[in-house]
């Protein structure tokens, strides 16, 4: 009876321990912990609410200078299109296909100019963003874009999007 009783007591404990150890052993645990501070150069994503926008600022006039030098070759004069997409064209343009102004900053900073992505300073990215928004008559010619003003820009088609599969997110 003693043997039997002790077996009953021991087996579940052994199973539990075994399961726990197996679970720990299933995970190689080779991920190296990092902090968000380690990732400041990597984390370039900007939320639609402006979280992640860096310091700096720019105006449409300043942006026009950068655009003529580095962007016009592909996007055409005043963003009317060339080898690459129009930025102020008649149909698929910033005004009707971008619900948040932060997207313009984010994409310009991560991907443009085509030949040298990530080469623009933050001031230049703010300025080019301001220029493109002004071309589309979304902001005024003298408006300054920075981390505070950019997320407040109301894109004209903000409410014009519908998620096709709302049940999947």
């Amino acid at each position: 009876m003693f043997m039997r009783k002790s077996l009953i007591a021991v087996v579940p404990l052994a199973l539990t321990l075994g399961a726990m150890m197996a679970k720990a052993a299933d995970r190689p645990g080779l991920g190296k912990p990092v902090t968000e501070a380690d990732l400041t150069l990597w984390d370039i994503s900007i939320g639609p609410n402006g979280v992640g926008l860096p310091p700096g600022s720019g105006t449409p006039a300043q942006g026009a200078v950068v655009f003529a030098e580095k962007c016009e070759i592909c996007h055409g004069k005043e963003g009317k299109g060339g080898a690459s997409a129009a930025l102020a064209g008649p149909e698929r343009n910033i005004a009707n296909y971008v619900p948040y102004a932060t997207t313009v900053f984010d994409f310009t900073r991560r991907a443009m100019p085509w030949q040298q992505p990530k080469s623009l300073t933050n001031d230049e990215v703010y300025a080019v963003t301001a220029y493109i928004l002004a071309l589309n008559k979304i902001i005024g010619d003298n408006d300054v874009m920075n981390a505070e003003t950019l997320p407040k820009v109301k894109m004209p088609n903000r409410d014009g999007f519908v998620s096709l599969y709302p049940d999947k997110h």
Partner: protein, 447 residues
Amino acid sequence: MPVRREESMGNRKYRRGDSPPQVAGNGLIDRRALLGRGALIAGAIGTGVTTSLNGAAAEPLPVDPWSMEIGTAIPPYGQPATYEKYVVRTLTNPKNEPRTSQARTPHQFLNGTITPNGLHFVVSRTGFPDIDPDKHRLVIHGLVKQPMVFTLDALARYPMVSRIYFVECGGNSAPLYNKDPVQANVQAIHGLVSCSEWTGVRLSTLLEETGIDPKAKWLLAEGADGPSMNRSIPMTKALDDAMIALYQNGERIAPSNGYPMRMLVPGYEGNMNVKWLHRIKLIEEPVEAINETMQYTYRVAGPKIWQFFFPMEVKSFITHPSPGLTLKEPGLYEIAGLAYSGNGRILKVMVSADGGESWGEAALDEPISSKALTRFRMPWRWDGQPVVLQSRAWDEAGNWQPTRDEMFAVRGAPKVNVPVTAFPMGHMNVITSWGIDNKGEVKHVYA
């Protein structure tokens, strides 16, 4: 093999040597004829084609020169036969000029379901990056309990899975959205879908290690390429079947398909399967990336722009015959094609040779995998008269491939013609029709 007097064909029976039963107009033959291929097909074509060798042979067959010499040294990495040089991707931007590049898979020259790595389709904003695998890192951060960085060496020690999945560009088959049928081949129309066996680590395995803040509803996946291509992916998908893929058809992922690692979100539109993956950030709301606002969104039915189209809907198309593959003479052929769905397995494929008047069910090659290309086949006797071939697929989730009229009732019909490389519409999965004239030439038609 014992000769059977009769082949059972379900509830039909016919004698060996008779023509197999026609199941639909213009010569479509019961797919079950494929099961007894040896006897039935031989019987079916016996009267026509097999006479030439016997009849014309005044001389015995010569011994070919390659049978009388030594072969070429075996190379360390094999290449296709030199005679197959034409089996290549078509490129829209071979000089890597400042615009997007597309490379399309030549489905008209392939058979089976797996795409060779060198022929897998590519859409890229700036070519492909030259990534040193020893220096590449994958970071997972944001709304996690512990942000972590993984090297390729580290990931190699995690439990892996191998799964066969197609990847399809959201813009594949866009040329079907033209006012008139574009005269192009299957590669130009449907070449932005490919299928591989992908091997890698489940994303959920890594997220178990970092922990998940319950506030996380989406994740941002970002590539290490020049433009840092990025896309928002729902956490529900991340925890379902998403994978960090490291191998493609047994070898490391091809450079233009994401070497050394890519996100794999099976069945979801191609650009969400972020290549050259180096960062995953768990977030509350989608980032509204360029590829989910300016690109891969469509103004179709109603005033709103459709955004976050995730799964690629059920589709099929005939690869054999197809434009460029001219039928040389009347007789027995196999109609073959590809079917797939981002919502699961293919349930059935129907084929028509009379422009949709009558349909016969095609045979499906096993295994039929979820979210993978499935090969369908249909025996067919062409009588030399003009025909219109079509295929139509159904998936296990209850979806079917729409006719042009069915889709355009929702989205509106195309009013103009655009260049074949343009993308006038996304997620085009309507029925494709190939018209064959009495010379055997195949053309894209609407039917």
